[in-house]
Amino acid sequence: MIPGKILAFLEDEGTVAVSGTRDANLIPAIHYVSGWDVEPNKRTIRCSIPQAFADLISSLENNRQFSLTIEQIGSHETYQFKGDYVGSARPNEADMAAHERVKARFAKVVNQVFGLPQEMCRAYISRPSLVIRFTVREIFLQTPGPGAGHRLVPPEEE
């Protein structure tokens, strides 16, 4: 379901991620994401959430709506994934490994682009306390520019 190019982006290029939910009153909330991984079905994404932003289960159980936006710092390449909450779990080894990969990638890129020390940058990606699983329903291009907002999956009708 998730195209290969975007899978590659998720695997190797995305450096910062945030997610959004809404409650029963349609009031939105922000949840920082400190890691992600795509399950073998290539439709379900596991998002690692730090403790400070882990108060989202009630909203997800209320309406199941979840959106995840991942950006590559520097190039500004950005994708938004909208989908349905499947479940939550505690981070496993694979999740932690994904978290470590993202943290390293983030520190390296921010160091390259902004010159901040990598050790300092690593601290900005907090250890996850929760994993949210959701099935991707739509993928949007969010890279600033002429195509921003364009839906990639499923393709927009001409």
């Binding site: 945030v18 809404r22 920082y32 400070a52 959106s67 936006t69 601290a123 900005y124 250890r127 600033p144």
Partner: protein, 141 residues
């Protein structure tokens, strides 16, 4: 609901150049998460977002005025989470002029004059603000 005053220390955070996060929700309940370049400080109880291109965020707040804004403060590794409500749009006045001027200045310097046109300054009333300090790194980190 009465507006909540923003703390003094939030204004420089708005101008630190680190992209902010805005989450909105459509009338049919689908959240939209977007990364934006700048949130503008209007006054102690209001912020503004620039409306240049008609996008999902703009459409959502006109259906459902509720929004959530996150600002990144690198000092102390904190985030500022603001619950805001879309109030109105301005197409003239000091806020609009300031936003428009900044956009024009940067766009003209990058050969993008005419491509970026501020359509309006969307003014949001602050409902709440929360400072979130992220947990310190584990010994392993």
């Amino acid at each position: 609901m009465n507006a909540v005053e923003l703390p003094d220390q939030i204004q420089p955070v708005m101008q630190n150049g680190i992209p902010a996060i805005v989450v909105t929700c459509s009338a049919d309940g689908i959240p939209n998460t977007t990364i934006i370049s700048q949130v503008y400080y209007v006054d102690k109880t209001h912020i503004a977002l620039s409306f240049q291109f008609f996008n999902k965020t703009i459409r959502n707040v006109r259906e459902n005025p509720q929004a959530c804004v996150a600002l990144n403060d690198l000092e102390g590794n904190t985030k500022w989470i603001l619950d805001v409500e879309y109030d109105h749009s301005e197409t003239e006045g000091p806020i609009f002029d300031e936003m428009d001027m900044q956009i024009e200045a940067i766009a003209s310097a990058t050969g993008m004059s005419g491509i970026f046109k501020l359509r309006a300054a969307d003014i949001y009333r602050v409902k709440s603000s929360k400072k979130v300090s992220l947990a310190p790194a584990s010994p392993r980190e």
